[in-house]
Subunit: 259 residues, 2 copies
């Protein structure tokens, strides 16, 4: 089995090292990850600038390829140029910080896995729910288990699996739940400050406004110490609204007006 | 009616000027747009750096607020700090280049509208299908018409409307169609070059592989000179796979193994 490993925290981060270590027990692992942190870049790709690729060593040993680009760039480049073939699986992570609810939209970790799904490669994104996470061994075990399950059962074209692991010792984990993307959203606040030259600047802060008792949600699961496993896809069409909009009569009106 | 206008091509682009002009006929327009081009940034937001906001003038007149950030940053900043209240509508565009099929995922234009939808503000993304588009007047008329329709009918929470206008004179437009996101995807190629210092670099190129006779798709519509109007949302859960994964027995297996 061949697995391409990437992330958005950068190739030097502790999470990707733990992920590669765990997966080496079951697969031939190729690491292609951003040379710098790329958190909250969403599904950006690099087109205005060329990409550069360098070999990254850890403790004197070759660890993987560092790409001066986004997580989605790493997956494209990893599959098209570095591996030159589709791996059996792409796994992105282990992210330092949770990717539940609306954060999935902003997440570089998830967008890397989504890029793989677009390229018809089964994919998993995996995160630990704290930015201060130190021990990624349990999440590594989860990644290995979910990887084996995905290979065993397969995924529909265009679907990926988003995994969030609570930042607790293994013996405190309540279990694992298949979940939906929670509807929880951020209440943003821009904190205004003034620089030493008298000019204003703004920092984005805010808090995630949770929804009470959203029992099928990813956010509810991790809050209750469950590992959350959510299947997500990138068919963004809202089919209910599609049907309703047909009755807006814009098709008819506009044809009459313009032709 | 109050409308917040933004884009991803930058506040100085021709498309956003045409959009603001068209909408001023029906609403009080506030422009908040990136100070520099932000194409293909996806749904990035700025957290590692502070944001700066400056007033942008055009021909000596105040045009809008330039934000040193992403399209999604502009919407957050525009609503939370500059307007200080939710507008009736957010419209992002007019983008220079189409945002159909998988391009929706990479699009800064669409992500700005999506950010508005996340903030419970009805939103529209509008694009003209050529990077070389010069005349945005017809697309401006379309934006105005769709804006009025969205206000009249409303949109479900979390849904936005993605509009693509073929780059043809008004009298050659075939009509308007309510569509679905096409399944067409890019076949990427990285072109390898060598810099004057002997180091390799890679440019992303490729072509969109279209799907024959995808008659409900946005890509099919614009190819046939129809304006395409697609309702999209950000509930990414794949509910079919959710049900199937329940039978993977990962919940049961994992609870037994770990507890």
């Amino acid at each position: 089995m061949k697995i391409l490993v990437t992330n958005d925290d950068g190739i030097y981060s502790a999470g990707i090292a733990a992920l590669a270590d765990a997966l080496k027990e079951i697969a031939e692992v190729t690491v292609v990850a951003p040379s710098e942190e790329q958190s909250a870049v969403g599904h950006g790709i690099t087109m205005k600038y060329p990409l550069r690729v360098t070999k990254y060593h850890k403790n004197g040993n070759f660890f993987g390829y560092a790409v001066e680009g986004t997580p989605a760039d790493c997956v494209k480049m990893g599959i098209r140029n570095i591996m030159g073939e589709s791996p059996d699986l792409v796994i992105s992570g282990i992210n330092h910080g949770s990717n539940t609810a609306i954060n999935i939209i902003y997440s570089g970790t998830v967008s890397a896995a989504r890029e793989a799904a677009i390229m018809d490669v089964p994919a998993i994104a995996i995160s630990v729910t704290s930015h201060d996470a130190k021990d990624f061994r349990y999440a590594g075990k989860v990644a290995k288990m979910i990887a084996q399950k995905v290979i065993e059962h397969g995924l529909p074209q265009g679907t990926l699996v988003n995994v969030n692991v609570p930042n607790f010792p293994e013996n405190e984990i309540a279990g694992i739940l298949v979940t939906e993307q929670s509807k929880a959203k951020w209440d943003d606040i821009y904190e205004k400050r003034t620089d030493p030259f008298g000019k204003d600047y703004y920092w984005l802060t805010g808090k995630l406004v949770e929804i009470e008792n959203e029992k099928l949600g990813d956010q509810f699961a991790v809050k209750n110490k469950f590992v959350s496993v959510t299947p997500i896809h990138f068919d963004l069409t809202d089919y209910d609204t599609f049907k309703k909009m047909k009755s807006w009569d814009i098709e008819k009106i506009f044809n009459e007006k313009t032709n």
